[in-house]
Amino acid sequence: MAMNLLLNIEETVSVVLFGIGFTMLLLHQNLIKKIMGMNIMDTAVYLFLAAKGYIHGRQVPIITDGIQDVSAYINPVPSGLVLTGIVVSVSTTALMLSLTIRLYERYHSLDLDEILRGMRKEERL
């Protein structure tokens, strides 16, 4: 099994990165670190997806030297899907960062526990 893990090294690394990102997203209390974890998680998924297109020994899918034969290039579709995914990830990161700025302006802390405490104090008043 270790041989299989090494043969599919991109998928293995991507799952490990997904785990790291997901743990950071859920377990850290600092908002910025949560956002970083979310980005690592998304990047891991894109690595997984991009690895699906790679075929060993073939070129980038840009026609060079006039070679139009399909068998000389890798699969271009997953790269397009990764681009879409990156756009989505950027939008979500922007949204979460703007939420973080709003929360910081209100409660002067980046720590989610402190923010929740401040919120409850505000509601009791």
Partner: protein
């Protein structure tokens, strides 16, 4: 090809364009454009539904110049047309019902942003209902998430912001898992369009190759969409999100957003992985167990809640559990029951949120049991609306919730292994539902101890609240009394769904 066949495409495009154009309009014009656009999409979707029903046909529509399997497609049938029209109707009534509160809660310069989010939300729901391509589904799932987050955080209170962050965290996790499942599916079948992917998947399951990857694909897609729609263990973001947003946003989020993801899940089960394969795998049992757990635990949490809107939000968790239990039963009848409950829950939950606004307005803005005592007398229409919604959730005959429970019980009788658990869970959760909903209805109609409070806030309801509550009650009665043709239509639609 008749003109009606273009309508699904038209409805998605005008929803999106309305959103784009609203960015340069003022608040009031954006609101009117939004209302007009939703009304037009309801008419278009209704026409599609009627066309498909009359001709008993389900057709695919090529988007762009390339045919399958290289291009993009949308597909319309009886079930898709009805769902699109129904979602549009619920969204229109939710926007009308919460109009005054939207004007009060949202800052002056940002009113049009709210309506942009509404338009984008409608376009993504329509696209999720109609799409025949997996990656288009992923893109619109993300648009749905971002529009939903925009709807939550449009109100600048602290609670809304932190609940928006929690919502985004859980949604991103679900999307990540869904995308890994999609990439595996693309890798194994080589197609992103649903019908060619189905043929490849059937070849694979018949040959027995790639057994573990197919199971992992099914598991990842199910868990990813289940996290996003709020199935039991992943529900902790729901009470904060639904409880503190503006009334329109609560109604739309609880009624429509989760249902869009569940509809997509059912679509993937039927159209990509193959219904027989899904039934024969263990994943259905996992969804069933979580659904039953959600039914019971959601109601238990709702009983312990003091705040009315959080209580309604926990009731949503229980109802989503019902739907997953129906899917997890593994029979055609169970799926029909689950889809009928999607419609029931959309209409009823939106009614509950919109009427709850009317009720706590006349109770000094407070939402606990003590302050709401007698609110049914201070605001009669909202009291009636809340009572109808609550009785429908409990399962009173003549209302739509009764038909849902009847369908669930009838479909449970057809699957011998899960029959006993389903019937017991239905009975227990009905009792638990009654405990908190009927308690709230009785509280609303208890005579209030403090006579002074009854003088304050007996102002007349605005016309939009009256119209919305009245229409929702009519919708509920329509689903409850006229359920036979609707269930028949859902069954026919499911036959052609793959």
């Amino acid at each position: 090809m008749s003109m009606v066949q273009n309508f699904p495409f038209f409805s998605i495009i005008i929803a999106m364009f309305a959103g784009i154009v609203s960015s340069v309009l003022s608040g009031k014009k954006a609101r009117n454009l939004s209302l007009a656009m939703i009304a037009v999409t309801i008419l278009l979707s209704g026409a599609v539904f009627y066309y498909c029903l009359k001709n008993q046909v389900s057709y695919t529509y090529m988007m762009g110049h390339y045919p399958a399997p290289w291009g993009n497609e949308i597909r319309a049938g009886i079930l898709e047309g009805f769902t699109a029209a129904f979602f549009g109707a619920v969204m229109l009534l939710a926007v009308i019902g919460g109009m005054r509160h939207t004007r009060q809660d949202v800052e002056e310069g940002k009113q049009n942003l709210f309506y942009i989010m509404i338009d984008l939300m409608l376009s993504s729901l329509l696209a999720l209902v109609y799409t025949n391509d997996l990656f288009t589904a992923y893109v619109f799932v993300e648009i749905n998430t971002i529009a939903g987050c925009g709807l939550i955080m449009i109100r600048q209170k602290g609670r809304c912001l932190s609940s928006a962050i929690r919502y985004m965290i859980m949604s991103q996790l679900g999307s990540g898992l869904f995308l890994i499942g999609l990439s595996l599916l693309y890798d194994v079948t080589g197609h992103l369009l649903m019908s060619p992917a189905r043929e490849a998947a059937e070849r694979i399951t018949a040959a027995g190759t790639y057994e573990i990857p197919m199971l992992v694909i099914l598991a990842l897609i199910s868990v990813g969409l289940a996290i996003k729609s709020g199935l039991y263990p992943f529900h902790y973001w729901i009470p904060d999100t639904y409880g503190y947003a503006t009334p329109t946003a609560s109604a739309i989020l609880s009624g429509l957003v989760s249902k869009g993801y569940i509809f997509l899940l059912i679509k993937i089960f039927y159209r990509v992985l193959g219904y027989e394969y899904v039934i024969s795998s263990r994943i259905i049992n996992v969804l069933f167990v979580f659904g039953v757990a959600g039914m019971i635990m959601g109601s238990v949490h709702a009983i312990m809640e003091e705040d009315m809107r959080r209580m309604i939000a926990y009731s949503s968790v229980a109802q989503i559990g019902y739907i997953y239990m129906g899917i997890g039963l593994g029979t055609q009848a169970g799926m029909v029951a689950a889809i009928f409950h999607i419609f029931t829950h959309s209409a009823t939950k939106a009614l509950l949120f919109i009427s709850s606004v009317g009720l706590y307005e006349v109770s000094g803005g407070r939402k606990d049991y003590h302050s709401l005592r007698g609110a049914g007398y201070r605001n009669p229409l909202a009291g009636i609306g809340f009572s109808v919604g609550a009785l429908s959730m409990v399962g009173f005959p003549m209302l739509s919730g009764f038909i849902s429970k009847l369908l669930f019980a009838a479909s449970a009788l057809q699957s011998p292994h899960k029959m006993l658990i389903t019937l017991i869970a239905l009975a227990v959760s009905t009792i638990l539902n009654a405990m908190y909903f009927l308690r709230m209805v009785i509280t609303l109609y208890r005579p209030s101890m403090e006579p002074s409070k009854s003088e304050k806030g007996t102002g007349r309801n605005s016309w939009n609240l009256c119209l919305a509550i009245f229409s929702f009650i009519l919708l509920n009665l329509l689903l409850g009394l006229g359920s036979q043709p609707i269930v028949g239509a859902i069954g026919d639609g499911l036959m052609m769904f793959d």
